[in-house]
């Protein structure tokens, strides 16, 4: 039982880092990025191929180095950020809102099919694998997993501190100002593209970092078992926790991840229908996304920032009322629709 909980909490911790990364792009900057999965997967791939050594005959992949784990993760993050700088430059230059999402959606599936079919890169749909032990085999199997869990918790904590700090810094406020009104922010001298671009790269870097952790956790990765739909649970987690609030995001990813794994464990999955359990789980995630968006779009711990960037203290009286202190710009305004219709 202890091992079971360690495994689940380790996963939740790793995905917490990823959720913080996605939230920087989606929550702070307001761009719903669907290609975060690609950065996560690239982080996993890069970490694995830089630590397990040369590829043996039927398996083929690039690099095949044998670097120390931490160095490999650092290089993986750098590669992911470099890669994100290309996608981000295309998608953020002058596309916003749904056009941004469409572009990132196209990007993630294009990359997915490229990796699946172009075997020399990461061994195609068979994926890469290899057992490696960052501790050098000094620990027993169980002890290793406990230490690894502690390590992941430490990383999540450090990332959380960094993100929380950044969130309240002038930079965090600038990103949100650009999100809420690009034109006004530009009038006040902010470079809209550069602001969004930097946030995007930070988010992608965090996604790559969580990929690096995940590589050490599962030690194998292939496109068939890890479809881009696998991380939709994190969009649900961010919605539950509260977009734009790092504390809420971490809370949400633990609640949703642990909650879903636990809840769906008891769904019977007969041997004849092995897909039943996972499918029901995905359906619940879809429902959760829709219901949260409809009834509580700001989440359990909504993003609330005062004008000076400090967190607004809420008294217990305002706990149940949604927008007494600051109107939430994302749920109160009805956007005027642009007039571009069917040509007559």
């Amino acid at each position: 039982m202890l091992q079971y909980w360690t495994a689940i909490l380790t996963e939740a911790t790793i995905f917490g880092v990823l959720a913080l990364g996605i939230d920087m792009i989606w929550g702070w900057s307001g761009d719903f990025d669907l290609s975060a999965y690609a950065y996560f997967a690239l982080g996993v791939y890069m970490t694995i191929i830089m630590t397990v050594g040369k590829a043996k005959a039927p398996v083929e992949y690039v690099l095949g180095w044998r670097l120390p784990y931490l160095l490999a993760v650092v290089i993986a993050v750098v590669v992911v950020v470099a890669f994100a700088s290309i996608i981000g430059a295309i998608a953020l230059r002058n596309l916003r809102d749904v056009y941004f999402s469409i572009t990132t959606l196209g990007a993630v599936w294009a990359i997915y099919y490229l990796v699946e079919n172009f075997t020399p890169l990461f061994n195609g749909y068979n994926g890469v694998f290899g057992l490696f032990d960052p501790m050098g085999g000094k620990l027993s199997y169980n002890a290793y997993h406990y230490y690894f869990f502690a390590f992941c918790l430490l990383v999540l904590f450090l990332v959380y501190l960094l993100v929380q700090r950044l969130s309240r810094s002038p930079f965090g406020r600038m990103v949100r100002a650009v999100r809420d009104d690009e034109r006004a922010a530009a009038v006040f001298g902010r470079n809209v593209f550069w602001t969004k671009y930097r946030t995007y790269l930070c988010g992608a870097g965090l996604a790559g970092l969580s990929g690096g952790l995940f590589a050490a956790y599962i030690g194998a990765f292939n496109p068939l078992d890890w479809k881009p739909t696998e991380i939709f649970v994190l969009y649900a987690a961010i919605l539950v926790g509260g977009r734009g609030n790092p504390r809420g995001v971490v809370l949400g990813s633990f609640i949703v991840y642990v909650g879903f794994v636990e809840m769906t464990r008891y769904i019977p999955s007969p041997a004849a229908r092995p897909e039943l359990g996972p499918a029901l789980r995905q359906i619940l995630i879809g429902l959760l996304i829709i219901l949260m968006l409809k009834f509580r779009p700001s989440g359990l711990l909504p993003e609330r920032l005062g004008t000076d960037g400090t967190k607004v203290r809420r008294s217990w009286r305002t706990w149940f009322s949604r927008s007494k202190i600051l109107p939430d710009p994302r749920q109160d305004d009805v956007v005027a629709e642009p007039a571009s219709g069917v040509e007559s």
Partner: protein
Amino acid sequence: MSILWISVGMGLAVAAILALSSVAFTLEYAVSRVVNLAHGEVLTIGAYAAYVGETNFHQNLYVCAIIATVAGSLTGMGLNFGLIERFRNQKPLSTLIATLGASLILQNLLLIGFGGASVSYQFAQGNLLHVGPFLWTTLTIKVMVSAVVVAGLIYLLLQRTLLGKALRAVSQNRELAQVSGIPARRVVMQTWAVAGAVSGFAGFLYGETIGTITPTIGNGFLLLSITAAVGGGLGRPYATLGGAVVLGLVMSIAGTYTSSAYQLVIAFGFLVVMLLIKPNGMFVRGRALTVRA
């Protein structure tokens, strides 16, 4: 040279199906201002409905096509009633995320209902025919002819009927159409019924052309539809038709010289080029602007 012609012929067949799917997608956008990520699942539902019609009820090709159309239409109306109208006062991005959730739900319902293994129709493919420089089967020709007929029907619907007129009005400004006495809600619902019917039919044609159906076939086709619609002009049916034909040809010609596995990669390249050069769409007059939906 002959290989090129054959691939252009195949490209036309794909383009015909793609045209239907992306026109349905663009009509949904036109009346509801929603990028419907569950569009691919409507296609898949059409394909599976026809499969049920064939294996469980032993119907022929034409009855199966009607079953697919009806199933798609019902799904479209259900999506509009249950989801899109509920999110009408929210930002387009929220609606997009909600349709992403709906896509997840529908796809997994199909997975539960039909299992993950692929199934296929048993309709006869017919003979190979040389038509000019092209090489088609009888079935491919039927697919293309029916697609052209449906596209013609959509044209007549948009230009010659009262619903078409109301649809165009609602797509330009829903509030203004409403105060002019057009029952906007009903028009939107009817548009979704039409779009769903067209998608269900397109899904059936697609399943018939590629041979196997899985719960995820709509997924890849959704991306192609989006690319065609955005490349041609989102929300504009005729521009979207043009975009679909161009994309179908580009994919099949490029696929001939690389590999058909890279179809989506090529489509994404096409999308990026279009978005960088002319984000409004290639068949829409006017300067390239920063696109905000």
